[in-house]
């Protein structure tokens, strides 16, 4: 389907952007904002708000029309390639197919101390009204918490006989989440023979879900992932893998 942004009429192409230019506010500054909007493809563009901040900066809000078309058929996304299961179905699948508890080890690695992501997925409290993995009777969850060094995570995964390792990276700077994830996946590859390596799952708002190959992990979950999606994926991937083996 071919679409354009929607303001209040189909096909009007209206968008709103805001930005700061490092200049004091005057007519020239507003002209500069319009010039930028034009280069961004807004035509016509309107500066609806301009406010000087301090001595040398101006904040702009610009509305305008873009002529670009987007083709939703040509968008590539990682579609969910596994069925979404209810908690009882997850438990039933693990009980009947795996015949033991499925072990999940989770951690925030590197310097990231923000456990909100991993806690939302693992803690019984969960997120958005959905209980976390600790709530699933047939899952055994070991949450190592924040700032876990990669060697400790590898050791814990071995000691707990983890089926899956979940790693969260929330706060990142200079692509630290990517470096950390590569380091983590390399360490697991080194420590475990391919057939015994736990499933590696990373999550966090800055990840691109399509980068699994590049980062050496089995699955990446982005913003808005729920515990149920993760649980369903684990069942799918681990039972699939078991079937294949």
């Amino acid at each position: 389907m071919i679409v354009r942004p929607y303001g209040d009429t189909t096909g009007d192409g209206m968008v709103q952007v805001s930005f700061t230019l490092p200049v004091p506010h005057d007519r020239r500054a507003e002209g500069a904002a319009l010039q930028l909007a034009g280069k961004m493809g807004l035509d016509p563009a309107m500066v609806v708000h301009a406010k000087q901040m301090g001595t040398g900066f101006t904040f702009f809000v610009v509305y305008g029309r873009v002529s670009h078309l987007v083709d939703t058929d040509r968008v590539t996304v990682v579609e969910r390639d596994f069925p979404l299961l209810a908690a009882k179905d997850v438990n039933a699948a693990v009980r009947s197919r795996l015949r033991r508890k499925l072990v999940v080890v989770g951690a925030c690695i590197g310097t990231d101390a923000h456990t909100v992501g991993i806690d939302a997925i693992l803690n019984i409290k969960g997120v958005a009204g959905e209980k976390g993995l600790e709530y699933y009777r047939e899952l055994r969850v070991v949450n190592l918490g924040a700032q876990v060094p990669v060697p400790d995570l590898v050791r814990a995964a071995g000691a707990e006989k983890a089926d899956a390792v979940l790693v969260s990276q929330v706060v990142t700077q200079r692509d630290a989440h990517l470096h950390n994830t590569r380091e983590m996946s390399a360490a697991f590859r080194e420590a475990f023979p391919a057939a015994r390596r736990p499933l590696l799952v990373v999550g966090g708002p800055r990840f691109d879900e399509a980068m699994t190959g590049e980062l050496g992990v089995d699955r990446i979950f982005g913003r808005g992932t729920t515990p149920r999606e993760v649980a369903s994926y684990l069942v799918h991937a681990l039972i699939e893998r078991k079937k294949a083996a």
Binding site: T20, M53, G54, F59, G110, T111, A146, Q147, R174, P205
Partner: protein
Amino acid sequence: MTAKLALDADQVARARELAAIAGAPVVELARSHTTVAVERATLRLAGLGGADPDGIPWVNRLVSAVVEQVGLEHGVSGPVFGALARGDSTDLVALAQRAAAGSVDFTVPAGKARTAAHRLGTRAVRDGLRTVDRRRAERERLVKRLGDPPQRPWIYLIVATGDIYEDIPQAQAAARAGADVIAVIRSTGQSLLDYVPEGATREGFAGTYATRENFRLMRAALDETSKELGRYVRLTNYASGLCMPEIAALAGLERLDMMLNDSMYGILFRDINPVRTFVDQRFSRQIHARAGIIINTGEDNYLTTADAVEAAHTVTVSQLLNEFFAHEAGLPDAQLGLGHAFEINPDVKDSFRLELAHALLARELFPDAPLKWMPPTKHMTGDVFRGNLLDGFFNLAGVLTGQSILLVGMMTEAVVTPWLSDRDIALQNVRYVLDSCGGLHEDFVPAPGGFVQKRAATVLAEAVTLLERITDEGLLSSIADGTFGIMKRPPDKGRGLDGVARRADDFWNPAVALLDGGAA
């Protein structure tokens, strides 16, 4: 502010009494142990600074050398000042250098040597504490001359670029735009470094390293801006993590004004050993008390991991414990920036009324403490428009309940580190609320027996029940079984345990002696 919640005075007294019972064994623990960080902080007060060519501070080198030879349990000051007194080196840096090369034999001095060592060590540390006293007097002079912020709450803004030279103009711009308190957030992970980096730093992750030189540079810059603005702009940093006592000492020496210093944050959120934390915490708070630094406690963090309604009483319990530990360490109410936060899920019915009840409860339990009111983070979704609205309600709750220090919420929380424009929009939000209804707390009187009063009473009752359980179980066991922030932290685990020792009978630390004795 007059009492608006009709709290049961007996219950309030009972809560305080229980907090004291729960805290007493921990104080005893703190008084009977020392840590490498306490010993290093003592050497810093005695004037030892700088680092070796690899960047390892001399205090670390010297403490390690002493611990290797004679252990930590006697305190390092006896062996160190014993060596100086017998003429091994002319000063502490030279001694540290020689010790690092392995050419000093340390012993715990006895007899006359002991008297000489104690005299030398006491003099050196007393000089350091006098510098702290001078800095405090300097602050008092500047506040007198330039004045405090004209309004309450004080407006608290964070800068965090990683580069101190980038932070300085940002902090100055923030102050000109209305910030009364500037916090330079630390590099992620600094709390887990077992040393304090040296010098001015230009690289950090999601924050700037806390170093003595960075403290000095920022304080000097804000002094300039304070003069320009005609109000004293305060500077905040973080005394948490493995170097809590050292950072506290450096903050005192460089006239920082507020420090994050929570009794349990490091244990719960950084997995630092509980004993290490409590020992370090007591010492660091004694220094803050001396330096006139307002501490900020970290109760807001519990609500980011636990549910803000269900866990509301854990905030109250932690505030009461923080208050007990702070008083015990010599901090008066005026230096007690107890924390709490606006973190209830906005989709919960009556969430704002609940927030008001919780915020007012903190206000009335601690009427003389400069409470620190923290903005929403957990339910900031990336929808910046909704975020700005939520921050507006947060600001309104702060005004209605008479909060003292307001950390400015950013609509881009959880999206990016704040942009210049984010900060500007956030300050507009604060100013609108302060200007349009800054005095509204006078008119806000919750109905007797109404929703707000009932909720506050419930939270207080739950806090008392929890405190009863904690006094039964012991605070350390409660921390071990996940009472706070759902994190389970046993006392024999966690980082930094190997840097803790029970004090021997001949333990001696001049800073501990001077701070405990009260005289100097």
